[in-house]
Symmetry: C2
Subunit: 193 residues, 2 copies
């Protein structure tokens, strides 16, 4: 149990068996059915989740009622609304399962206690959020500096596994495009090579 979680943890900071067992007490397993919510707009995000299995997305709804996907997650990825988790204020995001999922949850109180008592956990989390920052920065820079065609190519290179598992219109939403435009980008790219 928690195999993927500890594998990912050990990639950043290696743990002894005792340390793994210490952390284990703070973890909670959770299963979600496809389409089930982990978090809904207005909720406070009380835990961050690592996916052992399945796929998820987070999205927000704009003033005009349109959904915009803000993130995807696959096995081994972490998902949650860090803003709400950190501030303990209601979230503006929704997170739900795209497939049946198995998760590992760390509650806010467990997280805070691990930060206080276990330096390796703080290091793990610092590295985790550094990676998240770098990935987000890459996304943001591609949005301001690349053509649509290049942005799509960059997305496909960075996340080929997402493209395989997620419908195309959701990728369009993630990129801030209409599904029709993404379809046209694809046909443009395919004919030009």
């Amino acid at each position: 149990m928690y195999d993927v979680f500890f594998q990912k943890f050990n990639e950043k900071i290696s743990l002894t068996e005792q340390e793994e067992n210490f952390i284990r007490q703070y973890l909670t397993p959770k299963k979600l059915r496809k389409r089930q919510y982990l978090l809904q707009e207005g909720d406070i995000c009380k835990s961050i989740a690592l996916l052992e299995k399945g796929s998820m997305r987070s999205y927000l709804v704009d003033p005009a009622g349109q959904e915009h996907i803000t993130a995807f997650a696959l096995e081994g990825w972490t998902i949650g609304d860090l803003s709400s988790f950190h501030s303990e204020l209601p979230s503006t995001q929704n997170i739900d399962a795209l497939e049946d999922c198995e998760l590992v949850l760390i509650s806010k109180s467990a997280h805070d206690e691990l930060l206080r008592t276990m330096p390796k956990y703080e290091t793990y989390f610092r590295l985790l959020i550094t990676d998240a920052y770098l990935a987000l920065q890459k996304r943001t820079l591609s949005m301001i500096s690349l053509s649509l065609d290049d942005r799509y190519k960059a997305f496909m290179e960075s996340y080929p596994n997402i493209a395989q598992r997620v419908p195309q219109h959701m990728i369009a939403s993630y990129m801030g495009l209409s599904p029709e435009t993404l379809s046209r980008i694809r046909s443009r790219i395919n004919t030009s090579k």
Copy 2:
């Protein structure tokens, strides 16, 4: 010396005088004239900088030769290319001074040693990068979900002090717009109220 640096540090984690002096050894002051580079594309980002005084920007140049501003920094803000700093690979960004600046630098080796030896530094840095992540996320979400008018309003609310010190065409660049479009957004907003 380093007043702003320690003020910002203490806002996150409070330090004793001894701790301040311990950190002080690892810091280097630097002055930059307006238009002077802190980092150029191809350089490895060897230190992160906190601005004691002045203002800076970072930008990148796209394949078509066009500049895109990726970040601004004012007094008390931290700037640098975290991607290059972290990976020790050449940067794709340029960072230069918009006004005469006074900086505090932490080199990569100083940073690594502080992380190893001083838990409070690691906590400080974790909180710093968490804030950076949250700010970047806010920016990214506004790019995919808001109208241009709302994005501009949100920018002005979040960073009124940037708008006061930075020419408008740079704000347009930061937002990924042409200067003409930003000018038209402004006139639209001004006439409608």
